[in-house]
Amino acid sequence: MDQIVRELSFAQAIQEALSIAMERDPRVFLMGEDIGVYGGAFQVTGDLVHRFGEDRVMDTPISELGGAGVAVGAALGGMLPVYEFQFSDFATLAMEQIVNQAAKLRYMLGGSVSVPLVMRLPCGSGTGAAAQHSQSLEAWFAHVPGLKVVQPSSPHDAKGLLLAAIADPDPVIIFEHKLLYKTRGAVPEGHYTVPLDKAETKRVGKDGTIVATAIMVVKALEAAAELAKEGIDLEVIDLRSLRPIDVPAIVASVTKTHRLMCVYEGVKSLGIGAEISAAIAESDAFDFLDAPIIRLGGAEVPIPYNPELEKAAVPQVADIVAAGRRLVRGR
């Protein structure tokens, strides 16, 4: 295969996936607030409306609950909607349709329907938008059987996971960290998919395992490079999928490295780190642990406005570096 690979931004990679999906299948269409001529709050849909028209790149009223419900109904009616929430925070207005309807319809109805729906949710802090535009609520959604929840960390995966989500018969929720939109990386041309249920080892190491999500993967890789200079060799796993979690991949890594750290932006308690820690505690890897598990998560606070406070509310590279030393050297 001589597939052409170029460098694209994360946002461009998503737009390319949307474009390819719409070209391949007339049932695919986009819904969301200001995704048409405005191009989306983060310019992800960009000029797609000019190429595909307003019927396929549909601006909705500011009606997240109703809009999500329309997307569910359109999916039941034979279309393949891709619904963009302007900010993941606004999905709280639509939890009824996502949690009670989209996630449960197939089960409640005994398998007589599928809900082939994709929702894209820009998430995370770092933009100075404060507490109602900066949350990382992915663990909420990952708690709901019937949903699939993924979180890409690279342009390659942003495109591949989105194309996989559109091809999937069940509702898939994609959390896109806003600070990743402008990051660049290698992206193959054309159609390809990334599995919705597999973690990826981003860095091979022997002294400990970092399991990270979204932008924390980028930060963890930076931290691991820093720690390598001190002779600490960490493995970095990009979780990618929060539901289902690729437990075997984590167990295999921890069995090898004997140490585990979880790094994620969502609030630390009752979150992704707790789930991964528990999965390890319940697995054969537990016997291999040589140090307490470390969780680095968001502070127990709404995301603040002041830039220094905002940074302090979520794990930074220096925090991961310090935690890495603690994990391996015990101090």
Partner: protein, 341 residues
Amino acid sequence: MASNALPKDARAVPNRPAIYDELGVPALADAFRKMQLIRRFEESAEESYMRGLIHGTMHLSIGQEATAVGICSALAETDYITSTHRGHGHCIGKGGDVKRMFAEFFGKEDGYCHGRGGSMHIADPTMGNLGANGIVGGGIPIAVGAALASKRLGNGRVAVSFFGDGANNEGAFHEALNMASVWTLPVVFVCENNQYGMSTSTERSTAVKNVADRAVAYDMPGVIVDGNKFAAVATAAREAVARARSGGGPTLIECKTYRTRGHSRSDRNRYRTKEEIESWIERDPILALENDLITYDLLSQAEIDEIRADVETEITEALAFAAASPSPAVSSLTRHVYTTV
């Protein structure tokens, strides 16, 4: 269903509602049969509950049969409906099979949802029934979405969303009506106003006198009908469905009706008087239609009696089917969470 094909043609009788002639005798006999089937289904479900054969709860629509069947009389098999927690009538109106409905009620494998849903989630997508719904107002935007899909796919299907008066104060109702109007979608909103959201009357809950008054805000026709009169409901439905199918956009129909049973099994009827309930029992929609069919020389008493007897047989057989159906295997607990596992 032999009674669907009664040989007699509708003949002109003075003052006979035009809708009776438009529908014709076979369709009217079918409508009467479905209303009777809904009534007997729910009475039998209630009895099965009393005898301990059904657990959980149920929401009976006894007294509201004319709205479900009147609206569905205007729909094709391929048209969509979304239904409510009080949805048995909608399912039967849309051609549902009482055998599979009872089996679902009994939590059995042959039920519409293989025992996963129960009374509040009965659906029959093969008949366009996208499901009863346990969330008040939950089905309204879903119907709008189904209508959007119909419009995009150009398949001519109309979507009807049934909901109660309680749903008219949910945000989903307002968001859905607005979008349906902005996008001129083939959808009909049907409010079955039985006057109480559980115990709270519309007077105490709703700022406008009629739910149909809400239609003005969304620039669509708002129609009020006597929900206990099959002819009135069917007439309004026919017009609204024709408007939707021809690209004219949505309509809001408010059917004024009453549930003569309580909200659910826990209801002690503390919020309404015995006299009020009895005054509505006197306005029984099934007896009203029977009276019309005979008065306007559409069916004979013997034919009515034959339909009733036929319904009894169907109910008896359906109950036996449900009782004999196996329970789902416990090992199948997580089946149907995802399409592919």
